[in-house]
Symmetry: C2
Subunit: 119 residues, 2 copies
């Protein structure tokens, strides 16, 4: 469940939604085109199933992600970003620039990711 905002500060309010170790990692996966539970689980960070379930529900509750069933028995969903979710791209790009500059050994993201603009 999303917490009540701690203040009107836009930084604190953003962190009320995505301020944890995993939510923006899942958002990254969605931005590069991953859609299914199994695809998120396959990422190198090895998110735990229960954490992934929790973060996807939170992203949906916050209006950053929508889900659509692609299979009925058992019911399975594909997840995709809303405009609000996609608009966090510049935040992720800024984190990439920071880490590439200050943390040796971090991967350089594809140019297509770093140059992409939010509509």
């Amino acid at each position: 469940m999303i917490r009540d905002p701690r203040s009107g500060c836009p930084i604190a309010t953003t962190l009320d939604i995505v301020g944890d170790r995993w939510t923006l990692v899942v958002l990254r996966d969605l931005l590069v085109g991953k859609k299914r539970f199994s695809e998120f689980l396959a990422s190198p960070e090895e998110i735990a199933t229960n954490v992934l379930t929790d973060r996807l529900a939170l992203l949906e509750e916050a209006g950053l992600v929508t889900k659509t069933p692609y299979q009925l028995r058992p019911k399975r969903y594909e997840f995709s970003l809303t405009k609000k979710g996609e608009a966090l791209l510049p935040t992720l790009q800024a984190m990439c620039r920071w880490a590439n500059r200050f943390i040796p050994g971090t991967w350089t993201p594809p140019e297509s990711f770093m140059r992409r603009k939010v509509k």
Copy 2:
């Protein structure tokens, strides 16, 4: 203590350091010139003393913050950002733009904060 990086991904690596609800709120306070424990405690988000102590130690360990004693008995410190810490400004500015666009009622930061550039 800072965790070992989960992967070489610059986003995941950044979140290994600042991926929680409070660290970037403290960093925001440092960016606007707050230096002392009592000043961070006075911010509207009302960070708890133990959380603040923990996050300042983590920021120092990660090389984002340095501390200098300004009083000896009892020993008290002033905290300031290193170049590495200050360089997270564009990430915070991106969060501000996102929240101001998508979360109604969030405060508009001062122009001086939004226009400021990292050296």
